[in-house]
Amino acid sequence: MKILYFAWLKTKLQMSAETVDWSEERADIDSLVRWMKARGPAFAEIFSDLEVVRIAVNQEYVTENIPLDDGDEIAFFPPVTGG
C-alpha cells in the first residue's frame, strides 16, 4: 500500500510517501490508523486527534472505516486551505 502525507503531517513526519505492506493488522482504515499511532511519538501525536486528519483512499475522501487492498493509495492530510 502506498501511503502519502501532505502539509504539516509531511513536515512533522519528515516524509511525504512510503510503502507499507498490506497485512491483517492493517486490513482496513481503523486498523491502519491504530498501527500508525504505535509507530512513534510523531505518529502518535498526529493520529491522536483524528478531527484534524483527513483520509483519502485512491484519491477519494473516506469518512468511514473501509477495507484496504494491497494496491491502494492512502493519503493523510490536514483540512485543506486552498482557494
Binding site: A7, W8, A56, F77, P78, V80, T81, G82, G83
Partner: protein, 152 residues
C-alpha cells in the same frame, strides 16, 4: 473546465477565450483570489501552495459538475495554481457564464466555497523573518460551504 498549474494566468484572456464567438451568454461572473500581504493579523511576504496531484483534479471536476447540476451554466472554469507565489499574484480563478446573472453569481460563490473546503491544497506562508507556517483552516470557510448542502 478545470486546470491545475504552476504558471500565472491572465484573467482577461481566460474570460475572452470562454466567451469568444458566442452570442447566447448574458452574464459572466469571475472570482479571482490573490496573495495578500496580511493573514490573520500577521504580515506575509510570500505563499507556497502544495497540492495532491491527481486527487486535486478529481475534486475540482466533482465540484464543477455539482455546480453545473445545480445551476443553468453555459460555461464554467476553475484554474488553481500551486507552487511559489509572490504578493499580489493570482492564486485561483473561477468563471461562470449563464443566461441569467443570479445563476452566474450563485454558481461562482458555490465553486469557491466548496473548493475552499474540499480541494486538496495547502497554503504555507512566509513571514517577514523568512519563517514558513502552514495556514490553519477557517471555521468561516466551513460555515460558508455548509450552507450549500442539499437536503438529500
Amino acid at each position: 473546465m478545470i486546470r491545475v498549474e504552476r504558471e500565472i494566468f491572465d484573467i482577461g484572456a481566460e474570460i475572452e477565450a470562454l466567451t469568444a464567438g458566442r452570442t447566447d451568454i448574458g452574464a459572466v461572473v469571475s472570482f479571482t483570489g490573490l496573495v495578500r500581504d496580511f493573514n490573520d493579523g500577521s504580515p506575509v511576504t510570500g505563499l507556497t501552495l502544495e497540492h495532491y496531484p491527481g486527487m486535486t483534479e478529481r475534486e475540482l471536476e466533482k465540484i464543477e459538475n455539482e455546480a453545473r447540476n445545480r445551476w443553468n451554466l453555459q460555461v464554467s472554469l476553475i484554474i488553481h495554481r500551486y507552487g511559489d507565489m509572490a504578493l499580489g499574484e493570482p492564486i485561483v480563478l473561477v468563471v461562470t457564464a449563464s443566461p441569467h446573472r443570479q445563476d452566474a453569481f450563485d454558481a461562482a460563490l458555490f465553486l469557491m466555497d466548496w473548493l475552499k473546503t474540499k480541494a486538496p491544497f495547502w497554503k504555507q506562508e512566509t513571514s517577514t523573518e523568512g519563517e514558513t507556517t502552514w495556514v490553519k483552516e477557517r471555521q468561516s470557510d466551513f460555515n460558508a460551504a455548509h450552507r450549500w448542502k442539499s437536503n438529500t
